[in-house]
Symmetry: C3
Subunit: 521 residues, 3 copies
């Protein structure tokens, strides 16, 4: 797994000499000369590194060896775009019809990505004569992977930053969670949160806006150099706003610098953002039969094979298997096409919403307005804002695509009955959310809490927070458990136990509060 280049520097006799030079800080020029000489050997067998990337490796192999080693283990370091294009359609990992000629015959190294589209990047800076940028973006990756980039743009994840911060309702949720609360001996005062807190909380997954704030000089092993100062950095959130104007971050799932399909196919990657009580996908998967099979037998599966053969490369699906990957049968024919529009096989929106509803049409959900004028896909009574949501036909198409995945291992009766249960659970969880909403509305009406009627933040008081937990945690967890057969996540592990208990506690709170209020008067 070691490229020829690195073999030369690190393991041979010459390698140690070169490494010592690196470490003793010999002048960049001499060092470069020695290294470039060594690199001449052996290029015949392994794909060559580009001249520009050869310029990166000597220093960065020393100052950040972990990155270099990681890249060495990547497919990018062992192949060329020209070779990648030669593969059969279903086995191809690149989706471009053609790739610019100057990139074709060398590996995909440091320079290939970090000097791509320099004119588009606000974070481009001059670095030893190269126009380098720090933040590699979907727009850069699209040079070889344009179809994936195009699909991802239709993915609700690509708007994860915008959908959160441009939606006044969700923004007030953020404030209620991340803001500072002060106590003056009687009442609580809520202050807006600072930016650094946002970066590491909501925006860690949803993505920050990465902006260039100027430049600064830093000491390096080659002397003082100028670098851009970035705010909102580091971040690999799925809806990151990038300095080239693009949205998203491929490295959220294809972790730098291996960018491995293996990692993206393993559920651990999804768990980074889909494990908490608000999005318990990974937890539910873990206790599902699928997750059990993965944990018990997965170590022998082939996570690198393209295309992926259902039942043969793996014997139970991971997150990617159901939601993203191209799957073929034993005869090599596609069961389902790959899609980086993650909701391509999802017809209901079940998470992060007050009521589950048909999936939004646009990935930009901040544009939605319900009849009450709120940026929500349903009324507070649960009625869908239908014009913004996919229709029955599109729901059917997505359900059919998922059904094709399921049928690889399950009978049609099995799958259809599973889907019927899921539809029932959509209804019952929405019903129980409506009950909680009725209690909250009563509290607002009677002034026990300050909410919509008062024009106040609807998320900052105790009973409002219990209402949020009803849909954001419990109803949601139950729907996940239903969709993925997660047993206790529908019952005692943030499931129906809490959904039912919460109603009682909301009612009790309301009664105590009304009594207290009446007493005051």
């Amino acid at each position: 797994m070691t490229g020829n280049w690195e073999k030369v520097i690190k393991s041979g006799g010459g390698s140690n000499a070169a490494w010592k030079l690196l470490k003793t800080g010999a002048s960049g020029l001499v060092m470069l000369f020695v290294l470039l000489g060594l690199v001449g050997i052996g290029h015949a067998q392994e794909p060559p590194v580009s001249e520009a990337t050869e310029g990166c490796l000597p220093c960065h192999g020393s100052v950040s060896p972990g990155i270099m080693y990681d890249w060495e283990n990547s497919f990018h370091s062992r192949t060329t775009p020209a070779d990648a294009l030669l593969k059969d359609k279903l086995a191809r990992r690149v989706s471009a019809d053609s790739i610019p000629g100057h990139l074709m015959t060398t590996t995909v190294g440091c320079a290939e990505c970090h000097t791509m589209n320099p004119e588009k990047h606000n974070d481009t800076f001059d670095h030893n004569g190269y126009q380098v940028h720090t933040v590699v973006t979907p727009e850069d990756c699209a040079t070889c992977h344009p179809v994936e980039k195009g699909q991802y743009e239709k993915n609700i994840m690509s708007y994860a930053h915008i959908n959160l911060t441009n939606n006044p309702v969700y923004h007030s949720l953020i404030v209620s969670i991340n803001g500072f609360q002060d106590f003056d001996g009687a009442s609580i005062n809520l202050v807006d949160p600072d930016e650094l807190t946002e970066f590491e909380s909501c925006l860690y997954c949803h993505g920050t806006e990465v902006m260039v704030q100027g430049t600064e000089a830093r000491e390096t092993i080659l002397g003082e150099m100028e670098f851009p100062v970035l705010s909102g950095w580091p971040n690999q959130g799925v809806g990151r706003l990038n300095p080239d104007g693009s949205m998203g971050s491929c490295t959220a799932c294809h972790t730098r610098h291996q960018f491995s399909i293996q990692m993206a196919r393993k559920p651990y990657t999804c768990s980074e953002c889909h494990k908490g009580p608000d999005v318990p996908g990974y937890k539910v998967y873990e206790v599902s039969k699928h997750g059990n099979i993965f944990s018990s037998l997965g170590k022998n599966w082939d996570f690198e094979e393209v295309p992926w053969v259902a039942g043969k490369s793996f014997t139970a699906p991971t997150c990617a298997g159901c939601h993203v990957s191209l799957l073929v049968d034993g005869g090599g024919e596609a069961v389902i096409e790959r899609s980086h529009q993650m909701n391509d096989r999802i017809w209901w929106r079940i998470l992060g919403v007050i009521y589950a509803h048909p999936h939004p049409i646009s990935p930009n959900t901040a544009i939605i307005r319900n009849k009450a004028g709120l940026p929500l896909a349903t009324e507070l009574t649960g009625e869908p804002a239908a014009e913004y949501l996919i229709d029955q036909d599109e729901m059917q198409s997505r359900r059919d695509r998922m059904r094709r995945v399921c049928l690889s291992c399950h009978s049609s009766q099995w799958v259809d009955n599973q889907f019927v249960r899921f539809e029932n659970t959509i209804k019952t969880t929405n019903d129980m959310t409506l009950t909680a909403t009725k209690i909250l509305s009563t509290a607002w009406e009677k002034g026990a809490a300050q909410g919509l009627p008062q024009g106040a933040n609807i998320f900052d008081e105790a009973i409002e927070k219990k209402w949020v937990e009803q849909w954001l945690f419990y109803a949601n967890s139950i729907r996940y458990a239903s969709a993925m057969a997660g047993a206790d996540y529908g019952v005692f592990a943030n499931g129906r136990w809490y959904l039912s208990k919460n109603i009682q506690e909301m009612r009790d709170w309301l009664q105590f509060k009304l009594k207290e209020d009446s007493h005051k008067k």
Copy 2:
């Protein structure tokens, strides 16, 4: 790991032709002819598939390839009952003294299980001339594994459906959790849950009753065919009521269609049902020293070896190691016999009960009546309903069996001190449950909540739910942590922290409520 049969269809030149035939939907008869011809080759080296199973594979390899591949990876596809019977007693995986002759010399394939005992199965249907059933049951498996089936019948798990639904107290718990609650502006109205909700919540693990509701025609690649319509399906719960009258589901642990001993021995399998706050066995195991060793070193252990050599095949026990498996020492002598009566080495019942108590004698716990006439193994004061529970001698026998397992790696002082701590924790957790029960009883007496004295559901109000959490979550978690050395699950992770906090919150609730009530008057 590929059977000769499949090699022929899928990898050779003939294989592609056959596969294409399958996919293009050539007439079943022609296809069958081609395939049967191809199958003739190579049977000498690998055990043959039966003629009946040969009839299944061509279509089902196409319509549900995942199942076929999974079976190919199974031991069932690589051995015959005749060979299985030849093994040494301790190395045998079949427990029958003899197996019907017509099954002896072919592998255990589709037809062997899915056409077994057709006359007993309500779900039997005519399928291309075969009497096939969908739901394979412990009764079917008992053809080769009768001892395991017999032990499992004495296992409380086999009655998991009945114990939950036939017990009026537990049934009212289900209603309080899964039922719909409506709010009319002042009070809450509780409505019974629907069947589909039950199927995916409690009964997912406890098992559904699978019933034949009629038949229906479905379009297949061989044209329209008639199939039975099943309710309560799919399900692999441990106490499933099957269409042949049997109880349980072997595939709950031996996941279809590998039915692997490896999976059953890994803790992930148990975690499907034993991970939530009500049954945190897996979570406790994970943080125990045993779990740590398994997670850190388990990838190199031998999970297929029969018999299992304690300390050699594995260096720390999994769930199965302590509770189920046959273990031998380095000399090949049994340390402990295998038992599918999972409580064979368990003397206290610690989960799912108000007070921990000696294990019930009968796996059917719905027959128990305490002095108060309730179907509970203790009084509400904690006193055991002794006549329904194992006596001191039987407790001692079970403790001794478990002790033999422990002594493989621990000194007698180590084990005995561990057991003394566990007995102490049984007592202290029962005591803290009694305190919670006293508070609840006071609430009932004073009318702050409606419960036993009022003939009302004892689980549906806030303080009642807190009482349930005292025993079902916290006391239980502490007992698990004590039994399996799970550290924080006895303290902050649903342990004594919550056990002690809950008492304060129940008392506060009672005071607030009584004050509110007195104020009303």
Copy 3:
């Protein structure tokens, strides 16, 4: 992985005979003779077992085979101290400059550790002519690993027992959690917990005091023998007080009897004590990018290599990688030295404390007194008890060491921005704890709860427990998530969601309580 000695006993023809002798309980003398004869063969190739250890194995291989097999898999069974000392400095696993001659040329077996320093051990007993002790301690291990023992003494973990039990404030926390609460129909009475409960709860991780309570005779396969009776045993807590007067337990991380560096480097080991809501390190790691990489790719990493090459032996750090291990770069030079003073790269104390503060100077935190005279490192207002805490220079040194680890794979801007966020989070979580403290203080002042002003236990009432959760669970979880990039553990998974909700609930409780109290009057 099997030592020559065991090969002879167990796998050869002679082996079975020897094993049978063991099992049939032939006289110890005959057995020993047979075995010692067999052992003569083959010593040339593999390092020999000492004569004393040869005396242990025959019986203990029979009565506790798991221990023997485990040791066989250890490095201790495959090397000698003499060989260990020959290695290059950075590759050495022993830190002693010299090791006593009589230990040099045999493996590190049973007798080497269990008969070390017999005169220091209160638990030493005569066992077949050997002065044996049960509890092997850091003092024993220091014979070969003195540097690690010295560092560990400066580690706060070594005082984990003392810091908990010798600190009156923390002791009252224990009482409030583990004590028995009785209800008399109106109020709650809190009773001190028993010792057995302590052993398996707090002291499971913090360590027990292991004491010799006398001796007793036990029946063995060699007849009746006398053994010491130990209280507080078993235990492998990090701050265990040992019968030789030493503190700590190496086996907490280097699990007996493999004592493997591989286990200590894997995060599962840390998770035994660092997973609960009070110390969620492992949970946060699991969902971090580092944890994802470990889970996805770690199975191919080299966890045994010494020294550990950052980026090459592994591509993402585990707990040990950041906090303990010696790391070298590709040229073999140290990036960071190994330290068993786990806070050597930690500058803030973020866990188990009311307010995060600079790390204590002494590992014995029970000596700290704030201005109010309480054994706490901050005032109740958050102001640090500075004289007991490391100064800015030492904070800087520790931060710099951690930074060197990070720079192996990250740019300086990446690391520095990450640290800036962390510092901000230290401040905001402390601020939110202060708000909770203000509410609690008001409750105490107004007599709604009984605390400091009343000289009462400050942890035993409902609002006090909510206050504890504010810092011990939520603020702490957020700080962990900030430090290790754990996303949802800073938001919905015990993060800011609960931190903000808790303030509202504390305020509501106070209002309800004050109303109730005013009503009483």
